[in-house]
């Protein structure tokens, strides 16, 4: 029985280090290869030993697909390909391929050089890993091998994020990665066609949430920044290099322009330039508004946002600074934070999630006295704000996508168990499909009944047409033919053609029947009587009396024989082909009535 098997190694009833194994039509695919930012040891990566126990990785896995550049989806990739030993193809979109190394490099620097961790991947490994990547375009069907094909769909979320359809024969799975069903300042909404996959694997971060309008959050954000700047304070916005940062930059740039504000906005470590480069390069991946206005004005060429220099942090007066990294755990953002934390006029806005152990996490949980390196205590007097700008589909959006794709089954990943449970019930009720939510390490097995494509021979079709019936797409019609399998393909042909192609002779199928007749005469005479009787009754048929004594009517053969026990009874052996079935039945019933007395 063909089946689809799905085993999450990460993202099964949790958020972090997405890694899902899918077996479909005998092919094994790994969806995402993420890392958990909350761990500093081996636990940060998915446990790949569950794959390596199946033999060599490259032999077992047919391909790896990466949905987008966030580290919880691609952070383990260099480790997997360069240290664990996967040497096969890796698929991702062009923007993801371009941006992935920047984020991996950022993380490597923090892990290896700042935290002094050993056994971590190197810059060269990141590059070698990226050389194994096959970049794909949206809606381009990519043939991984003769049987396995994949296709990317737009997912919103971040630049280059994609949902992937994985198809083997007529079986298919869609994996959404992270997606957003509402457009934002710089990206469009996710979209997929009615591809009716056997299984839709969807993220469920906001499985129970109906998110408020993004406009409200944006307004709130601008209000807070504006207030802080107006009172002469400095605003720090810790961000990761690419993604959310660009959205917020567009927001502030537009606001500054409209309000004619003069306070400087800075973006640290030369990333604006780099980000601009990528957004220009991949302008087709942004939303319609940006694409439309691109000819007149590139939204990513900011008038108010300038490159930050370390010396600027001490400048008097208000300013806004975007600095990396986003969780305040190292580098420039932490340095600026330490400088500004003591002044209550200043403000830090955390626009995203922070893992435990980072300064970002501490201040978000309300801690105001932080122990820094060397037992120094930093008192945080500045205003601390949290605003989630993460771009995930909410419950409504997830339902909308399920409605769009019309899958036979749904499987939830990348969310919390309790919330998944709620969404699962909702999906099952509304769409009448099975919904699964495996934990990490649990396998969901779905039996499939694949439809098998069959080609119809031209000859057979022509014969149908000759009967005067024109094909009508709306009215299915029965078509008789012989199904043959040749060179692993199925074809429906006429029986003659089938015999010819397969080099077979036609078998004759005959029905036989015994009719007992009371007649004491010899067998030959009985046969003659039968002949005479049939000759008189069946005037339109060819009735013959053959030299061996048997009688034929078309293909029907009648022979008379003596009864072994009763000499006064003769047995008529009647046999006919299935083509003459009607005539055969008629003849038998006729003979069963007996012969007329006068027949000689």
């Amino acid at each position: 029985m063909p089946e689809i098997r799905v085993t999450p190694l990460g993202a099964g009833q949790d958020v972090g280090r997405s890694c899902i194994l899918v077996s479909i039509g005998g092919k094994n695919v790994m969806l995402d290869c993420g890392m958990h930012m909350g761990f500093n040891d081996d636990r940060r990566f998915p446990d790949f030993s569950y794959i390596t126990r199946n033999g060599r990785l490259t032999d077992f896995l047919d391909c790896v697909i990466i949905s987008h550049f966030h580290l919880d989806h691609c952070g383990a990739l260099p480790y997997f390909s360069e240290m664990v030993g996967y040497d096969g193809p890796i698929y991702m979109t062009h923007p993801t391929q371009a941006i992935c190394p920047i984020l991996l490099e950022d993380y490597r620097k923090i892990a290896v050089d700042k935290k002094g961790e050993a056994n971590f991947f190197t810059s060269q490994m990141i590059k070698d890993c990226m050389k194994k990547v096959v970049a794909v375009h949206l809606h381009q069907t990519v043939q991984v091998d003769d049987e396995l094909e994949i296709k990317a769909y737009y997912a919103g979320h971040v630049l280059g994020a994609a949902m992937f359809q994985i198809k083997v024969g007529s079986e298919s799975v869609v994996y959404t990665g992270d997606y957003n069903m509402t457009p934002d300042r710089h990206l469009g909404a996710a979209w997929i066609d009615k591809c009716r996959p056997n299984l839709l694997i969807t993220e469920s971060t906001y499985a129970t949430t109906i998110r408020d309008s993004k406009r409200c959050r944006e307004r709130d954000f601008l209000k807070k920044v504006h207030e802080a700047v107006e009172r002469g304070g400095k605003v720090l916005i810790p961000v990761f290099a690419l993604g959310r940062a660009q959205e917020l930059c567009i927001l502030l740039e537009t606001f500054w322009e409209r309000m004619n504000l003069k306070a400087p906005i800075y973006f640290s470590t030369g990333l604006t330039e780099k980000a601009n480069h990528y957004y220009k390069l991949f302008i087709t991946w942004t939303n319609q508004k940006i694409r439309k206005t691109f000819v007149q004005r590139n939204m990513f060429e900011f008038k108010h946002i300038k490159a930050f220099d370390r010396a600027f942090a001490d400048n008097p007066g208000p300013m806004v600074v975007f600095a990396t990294p986003g969780m305040l755990h190292a580098g420039q953002s932490l340095q600026i934070f330490r400088k500004w934390a003591g002044n209550e006029k200043n403000m830090v806005i955390m626009p995203g999630y922070c893992v435990q152990g980072t300064v970002g996490h501490k201040i978000l949980s309300g801690q105001r006295k932080l122990e820094m390196e060397g037992r120094q205590v930093l008192e945080v007097k500045m205003q601390v704000e949290y605003m989630s700008f993460s771009a995930h589909a909410d419950a409504k959006g997830i339902m909308q996508l399920v409605g769009q794709a019309e899958p036979e089954n749904v499987l939830l990943v990348h969310g919390e168990a309790k919330k998944m449970e709620f969404l699962k019930q909702k999906i099952e009720q509304e769409f009448r499909v099975n919904c699964y939510m495996p934990a990490n390490g649990e396998t969901v097995t779905l039996p499939t009944s694949p439809s098998i494509p069959v080609g119809i021979s031209l000859g057979l079709l022509k014969r149908e047409m000759a009967q005067g019936l024109l094909p009508d797409a709306k009215k299915p019609r029965l078509l008789h033919g012989t199904l043959i399998m040749k060179d692993s393909n199925f074809r429906l042909v006429s029986s003659e053609q089938a015999l010819k192609e397969l080099g077979l002779a036609e078998h004759q199928l005959r029905f036989t029947c015994r009719v007992h007749l009371h007649d004491p005469r010899k067998e030959q005479e009985t046969a003659l009587r039968v002949y005479s009787h049939l000759k008189s009754v069946l005037k339109d048929h060819c009735v013959q009396h053959l030299p061996d004594g048997s009688v034929t009517v078309e293909s029907i053969l009648i022979q008379a024989a003596a009864h072994s026990e009763d000499p006064g009874t003769k047995v008529l052996l009647v046999s006919w082909t299935y083509q003459d079935e009607e005539l055969g039945s008629y003849l038998t019933s006729l003979l069963k009535k007996g012969l007329p007395q006068g027949a000689t």
Partner: protein, 823 residues
């Protein structure tokens, strides 16, 4: 336990026990367990419980598991296991009847919580931690836990099932510890009850008709024979091997993959392999019974064994080589591979077995090539190693893949159809071909190798990943190419090959794929490094467009390529292979322009990789006394440091300090060198001489950079600077001793600047520094203390247990606000 942590612990326990206060981050509970494990490992768990009674109180809510979230429940089970690992603490918990109610029927086992895999996993891990002493074994025997573990072997979660198997091995090992100290009983019937029960279960599973059960038993045995080498394992194997052998009689052999793992783990066990116990016969039989794709890993495993009968090795090698034999036969070549003549192998692979489908054919060939690649470098590889037939097979496969082979048989035609354009096989064959460069083959074959490599490097059909492998294999073959007896130059064949290759390289350097351009440049850098001094190569390279194209790639849109181009240009320039100056009137003009160009990249490139590559080239140039650098080293260093010190990428700044250190060493001598020419101030050098020695560093503004870097927000930069200044202080120690107290306006302003920088103010430059002031400040700075502080990773404070407890407590109150978020 730290008193501060001890103070916070009751509050945290209260939070954990309160179902209304969910824990925000999964990782927190894991880290908390790590911490308890560290404490328990370092001291007495009983004392820990007595000093922190809140921990016992915390374990009690498990008695009402329905109230707790699965992850907190799992956490508590694991915590109880960690604490009960010490026998006295175990007894203490037993007295409170806590353990049976945690791990027995009364616990989560029978309840709704058991449906969560996290809870089942926590239960197993808790038991695994706890099973460390005889009391634990008694507890397991009486609580019925072993039966639950048996059933969990077939759990729907891979993690739980696997952990259950490992726990069985752990229990078996522990229960056998006492009797195994003497002579192991020859009859498992005399073993301890717990061990008997587990062995009985394994026997039953091995007899089962359902493959999953057989697999579970085989996996348990594999884990056991891999990790436990006590004498009793031999008794166990003798007892179970007939059942294992019975599996081979089934058709198809069930759980073949697990069976191979088991047999190899037995063969690797020092206790078992020495006595054989019929093992070699079983291995031989298995080799002949399994399908080719299943037998391959077994054959490889056998060949990797240190001790093994010759006949079995020969059989294994024949099995491993079968697919290649088949390829050679299909292309009407005399295979010449061991085991292929006269059908000596038990089940010679016919073409039909290799060719049932394209997927099977590709899979088997890739597996075989990878296995041989692994085997070849090992000392225990079969001897003699059939270099020539293997080379021939690799070349043939590559020819079948690119369509240049002419098949003469039906099988050959089929192979051709299957392999044509198959990237997977091409990559595997090129990897293997590269490994084969370590050996020797007849000249004719070597010529064929270079020919096929050239075909791949030239072909427009070669995919980027295949090209990368082709470049790697080429480099390996060139490097292993023997030097001609005359010495000096490359071996004629390799030389001819390089000459043919150089016209191909420009095409690759102009490829639209960045990875191809990059692989081409990496190849060029390696070849120039290796053969840049050889006349034939130099001539061919200079006659080609390669140097010019490489220079153009300095402006490539892809940063990786720019970085590789920088490395390649640096190497070309070092070898004097940079483009000949355009104007004869200005010798060296082009060389200068390369230095300028690299400096331009260093100052303006928006990406870090090319800038880092420039710094590496410059540091190497300084080390090698490159002509342009040597012309005016001070000027060169000053310019580079000025740019590098301002760089936003801290790796560039760190490399700037590395370059500064090289400059220091070259000027002052290595830390412990006795170079007679180095300008090292003698032990009692007059102050003027030392000041003179330090003047160049002041002129290139090295101190400004180094002192500023000392307080860099990026730790590695600060560490590098600290090392540099410590080196300098050691060199000037005698001088500073003579100087006495450090004072003067220069010193005061320098110290004031350092204090400002330490406080985070980076604005003010130092201006011109006097060597005396530098020496005085070096002496006053606590560089050792700073180095110690920097040696601790930056997150040692954030990741401390105290920080963890504070974070968990702080998060508990505000969870609702930020709960659903991620990147």
């Amino acid at each position: 336990m730290d008193p501060e942590c001890s103070q916070l612990l009751p509050a945290l326990c209260a939070v954990l026990a309160d179902p209304r206060q969910p824990v925000a981050d999964d990782t927190c509970l894991e880290k908390l367990l790590d911490w308890f494990k560290t404490i328990a490992d370092a001291g007495s768990s009983l004392l820990l419980l007595q000093e922190n009674p809140c921990l016992v109180t915390l374990l009690c809510p498990v008695l009402k598991p329905q109230d707790l979230s699965p992850r907190v429940l799992a956490f508590l089970l694991r915590l109880a296991g960690i604490l009960a690992a010490q026998e006295d603490c175990f007894q203490h918990l037993q007295q409170g009847d806590l353990l049976p109610r945690l791990f027995g029927e009364a616990g989560p086992l029978g309840g709704a919580a058991w449906t969560a895999p996290t809870v089942r996993s926590g239960w197993i891990q808790g038991l695994c931690s706890l099973t460390q002493h005889p009391s634990a074994l008694c507890f397991l025997a009486h609580s019925g836990a072993v039966d639950t573990i048996f059933s969990l072997q077939g759990d729907s979660s891979l993690f739980v099932a696997s952990a259950a198997g490992q726990l069985l091995v752990h229990i078996l090992g522990l229960s056998m510890q006492a009797p195994a100290e003497g002579h192991p009983s020859l009859q498992p019937a005399h073993w301890p009850a717990c061990a008997q029960k587990i062995v009985g279960h394994i026997e039953e599973s091995l007899r089962a008709t359902a493959t999953p059960q057989v697999t579970q038993a085989l996996n348990v045995l594999t884990t056991m024979f891999s990790h436990c080498h006590d004498p009793w394992t031999q008794v166990l194997w003798v007892h179970l091997s007939p059942l294992v052998a019975c599996l081979l009689e089934k058709d198809p052999v069930p759980a073949a993959h697990s069976l191979v793992d088991l047999l190899l783990s037995v063969a690797r066990s020092p206790v078992l392999s020495s006595s054989s116990c019929g093992l070699w016969d079983t291995l031989a039989q298995t080799l002949s019974r399994l399908r080719a794709s299943q037998a391959g890993p077994l054959a490889l495993g056998i060949l990797k064994l240190q001790e093994c009968p010759k006949a079995l090795r020969a059989q294994a090698f024949a099995v491993l080589l079968q697919p290649l034999t088949c390829v050679l036969e299909a292309t009407t070549q005399a295979p010449g591979l061991p085991g292929s003549v006269g059908g000596t192998a038990d089940a010679p692979l016919t073409a039909g077995m290799l060719l049932p489908s394209k997927a099977a054919c590709v899979g088997l060939l890739c597996q075989t090539l990878a296995h041989l690649e692994l085997l070849q470098p090992l000392p225990q590889r079969p001897s003699p190693w059939p270099w020539a037939p293997l080379l021939s097979a690799a070349v043939t496969i590559l020819r079948l893949c690119n369509g240049s082979a002419t098949p003469t048989s039906d099988t050959g035609t089929h192979l051709c159809a299957f392999l044509a354009g198959c990237v997977r096989v091409q990559r595997a064959a090129l990897d293997f071909l590269g490994t084969l460069s370590q050996g020797t083959g007849p000249q004719e074959l070597v010529t064929q190798v270079f020919a096929i490599l050239l075909e791949y490097l030239t072909s427009p059909d070669s995919s980027p990943t295949v090209l990368k492998k082709a470049f790697q294999a080429t480099l390996q073959w060139l490097q292993s190419s023997p030097k001609p007896s005359g010495g000096g130059d490359l071996e004629p064949h390799a030389q001819l090959f390089l000459r043919e290759l150089l016209p191909v390289l420009p095409k690759r350097l102009c490829s639209p794929c960045w990875d191809v351009r990059d692989s081409g440049l990496e190849f060029l850098t390696q070849t120039v490094r290796r053969w840049g001094g050889q006349a034939g190569f130099r001539h061919a390279l200079l006659a080609s467009e390669v140097p010019e194209l490489t220079e153009q790639l300095l402006r490539d849109p892809e940063s990786y390529v720019r970085a590789s181009a920088v490395a390649a240009m640096g190497q070309l320039s070092s070898r004097g292979l940079h483009i000949i100056p355009a104007s004869p009137g200005h010798p060296g003009a082009q060389q200068k322009s390369l230095l300028e160009e690299l400096l331009h990249i260093l100052s303006t490139d928006s990406e870090g990789f090319p800038r880092r590559a420039v710094m590496q080239v410059f540091t190497q140039w300084l080390r090698d006394s490159h002509a342009d650098v040597a012309a005016d080293t001070e000027h060169f260093v000053a310019r580079v440091l000025r740019v590098a010190s301002q760089d936003l990428d801290w790796e560039v700044r760190a490399q700037g300090l590395e370059l500064a250190l090289v400059f220091l060493e070259q000027t002052l001598g290595q830390p412990s060198s006795s170079c007679p020419y180095a300008m090292t101030p003698p032990a009692a050098a007059p102050p003027s001489l030392v000041a003179q020695a330090l003047q160049p560093f002041c002129r290139v503004q090295l101190f400004d950079f180094a002192f500023r870097a000392l307080f860099d927000c990026d730790r590695p930069v600060a560490q590098k600077s600290c090392d540099l200044l410590l080196f300098l202080r050691a060199k000037t120690a005698s001088y500073s001793d003579q100087q006495g107290s450090s004072s003067g306006p220069d010193v005061a302003s320098l110290e004031a600047a350092l204090q400002r920088w330490q406080a985070g103010d980076q604005g003010q430059p130092l201006g011109d520094l006097e060597p005396e002031a530098v020496v005085a400040v070096l002496r006053s700075l606590d560089l050792e203390g700073l180095r110690g502080a920097l040696a601790e990773s930056s997150d040692h404070a954030e990741q401390s247990p105290l920080s963890l407890l504070q974070d968990m407590l702080a998060t508990a109150g505000i969870l609702g606000e930020n709960e659903a978020d991620c990147y």
